[in-house]
């Protein structure tokens, strides 16, 4: 793995919420370059809020978020655009453009932000699709694909401009264990081959053990971080009994929501 390990995302004293409810209070943590970082938490604990803050979709009530050394909260105009190109996002349901084929979906960022020749864009887009195992499906429309394939295509599109960071929202939600395992494998191979940093929201414990370098566990009552660290360390050494219990439950067939009730 990458030995440089400097900080690529720095979250500093973030508070966020809606009108009268504060979901996150003074949350701070760092994501190291090249690591696979997983965000966990029960529904309503602020996972999606946190992710939306990190990708600059929403603004926090207070605090700063640094992506590769630059604050995304205060960035405007071209500075913000340059920052946006440093990461790609896979949305929970893929968010592929329904009127475009997979190839056109992946080619779109290349068309908009590079001056590559058209044939070159085509080739690069096909190479990205091949990385996610969808080489033969470039001419299909998203609606013609299964959910797992749509997610993989969304990852290919997120990678179009070779970002340093990929944010994946609910990686395994709505997928069968086999597809989910395939996606885990894909994430690992992309991290190893391309050195991409991953920030992933997932509930799948098996997934977490398979891919996560470090995890952060959010808690609704604390309005912040319940635990942060390597999954094995948290399982064996966490001071919090609930965290230990959660990580020891691997293989039990309970639902994610049940897993989170202490």
């Amino acid at each position: 793995m990458n030995l440089i390990r400097d900080t690529i995302i720095g979250v500093e004293k973030i508070s966020a919420g809606y009108k009268n409810t504060v979901l996150l209070q003074d949350v701070s943590f760092e994501v190291k370059r090249g690591e696979i970082f997983v965000i966990l938490g029960s529904s309503g604990s602020g996972k999606s809020t946190l992710l939306k803050l990190m990708i600059g979709l929403n603004k926090p009530l207070s605090g700063r978020i640094f992506i590769d050394g630059q604050d995304i909260v205060s960035a405007e105009g071209n500075e913000r655009l340059a920052l946006l190109k440093k990461f790609g996002v896979m949305y929970q349901r893929g968010a592929l453009f329904g009127s475009m084929t997979l190839l056109e979906n992946v080619r779109l960022p290349l068309e908009e932000f590079t001056d590559l020749p058209l044939s070159a864009m085509d080739l690069i887009a096909r190479m990205k699709l091949s990385l996610v195992g969808l080489k033969e499906f470039g001419s299909l429309l998203p609606a013609e694909l299964s959910g797992g394939m749509q997610k993989r295509a969304a990852i290919a599109r997120a990678m179009a401009l070779d970002p340093q960071i990929l944010f994946l929202d609910e990686l395994s939600a709505g997928l069968d264990p086999i597809t989910s395992a395939e996606l885990d494998h894909l994430v690992l191979s992309l991290a190893q081959n391309l050195g991409i940093t991953f920030v992933i929201v997932t509930h799948e414990l098996s997934s977490i053990y398979a891919i996560a370098d470090r995890i952060i566990m959010l808690d609704k009552a604390l309005k912040g971080i319940l635990a942060i660290g390597r999954p094995q360390d948290l399982r064996d050494h966490s001071k919090n009994a609930f965290v230990r219990r959660f990580f020891n439950r691997q293989g039990e067939s309970d639902t994610p929501e049940e897993k989170f009730s202490p």
Binding site: G98, T114, L123, A143, D162
Partner: protein
């Protein structure tokens, strides 16, 4: 591990590529600096030009100067290899850092061969006619099926009115009917006014301006009131029905209803048709009245009293005209709501599908209104109405 790090790397200098014929048929390409999505475009173009010009048997890339290479850069090297192999030549890449070489090795050139695109042949005239006929038949079949199902659901609803979701129906009646009042009033008023004004000018030459009242009264109440109301309804509510039901279809809400044992016809379509059938004649009444009022302005401005105007109208327009028009409007409402619901339920997957159904709902609604109006004219003529 490839060096994806290097934050704050300065932007690359101008064209870090040098090409040179090393020997006859051997092109040397030297790249220095960054090979990323920003620089690769120019490098790629320059290389292509050079390859077109010299068509070398062999290309030697000196990659020792590449300090950073992302997916676009790998794409460039890969594309170069592919092009050389296709042309029967070969490519040698020297001094590429191992981390970049590993990236390049992820792709197998043989798997990326351009598959010959199958061009569909031109469709012959007869094939075109055949296909169009099939589509029209399928459409007609779908419509007849829908009318049947909706008809059954309506009859069931009327036999057992307690089953109808009246709350929903009244809510839809409010949005589709009551809220449409301002636009109906505006269009109806202007229509009456304009028609009277246009007719008054030539009629005045014959001293027959009082007959403007006959014209406005008859045409508004018999024909234009119902027609205009129905067209506004098609644009306003037919489209809304299609979009609503289409989105529900896309979100699998319709499937959810079916698996819950609820009939989408009963649940969604009957309420909408009932709302439209109740509201269209009421709106038409408004349009008639306001149109006639609009026409009165012209005659008043010519010195006739309002009483004369209305007396003239009452003497020409009878209840048969009024109820004939209202009956038409009921049928129009039924058609608009049905087409809207049908198109909504026919929606396929994807964001564009909803837009498509909406368009088809409005176009289909207006076409049906006009055609039905034509049929009514003929029927009314033979019935002597």
């Amino acid at each position: 591990m490839p060096n994806y790090s290097s934050p704050h790397m300065p932007d690359s200098p101008s064209l870090p590529i040098h090409t040179d014929m090393i020997a006859p048929g051997v092109l040397g390409v030297k790249i220095i600096g960054r090979l990323d999505s920003m620089t690769t475009g120019n490098i790629w173009r320059k290389t292509n030009l050079e390859l077109d010009r010299t068509s070398p048997k062999r290309v030697i890339v000196d990659a020792s100067g590449i300090e950073y290479c992302d997916g676009s850069g790998i794409g460039y090297l890969f594309g170069l290899r592919q092009r050389q192999e296709k042309g029967g030549g070969d490519l040698e890449i020297r001094g590429l850092r191992t981390e970049f070489q590993q990236l390049l090795d992820l792709f197998d050139p043989s798997e990326f061969e351009e598959s010959p695109k199958i061009q569909p042949g031109p469709i012959s005239f007869f094939e075109m006619i055949g296909r169009s006929t099939c589509i029209i038949c399928e459409e007609a079949h779908a419509f007849v099926e829908f009318v049947g199902e909706a008809g059954v659901a309506m009859v069931k609803a009327l036999l057992n009115p307690k089953q109808v979701r009246w709350k929903d129906a009244f809510l839809i009646a409010e949005t589709a009917g009551v809220n449409a009042l301002p636009v109906i009033v505006l269009v109806g008023f202007l229509m009456g006014l304009i028609m009277a004004f246009q007719a008054a000018i030539p009629m005045r030459q014959f001293g027959a301006e009082i007959y403007v009242a006959n014209l406005v009264g008859l045409s508004m109440i018999r024909e234009l009131g119902p027609l205009m109301t129905a067209i506004v309804l098609a644009g306003r509510s037919g489209s809304a029905f299609a979009a609503e039901l289409g989105t529900m279809k896309v979100n699998e809400e319709i499937d959810a209803l079916i698996t819950m044992g609820l009939d989408p016809m009963q649940f969604l379509v009957v309420t909408r048709i009932l709302a439209a059938v109740i509201m269209t004649p009421l709106l038409t009444l408004f349009a008639d009245l306001i149109g006639v009022l609009g026409g009165s302005l012209v005659l008043i401005s010519m010195g006739y009293s309002l009483a004369t105007y209305f007396k003239q109208i009452i003497s020409t327009v009878n209840y048969v005209d009024l109820f004939g028009g209202l009956f038409k409007s009921i049928v129009f409402g039924l058609l608009v709501a049905s087409v809207g619901c049908l198109r909504g339920l026919q929606t396929e997957m994807g964001a564009t599908a909803v837009g498509e159904s909406t368009t088809r709902a409005v176009v289909g609604g207006i076409v049906l209104i006009v055609v039905t109006d034509g049929i009514f004219s003929v029927v009314y003529y033979y019935l002597g109405i």
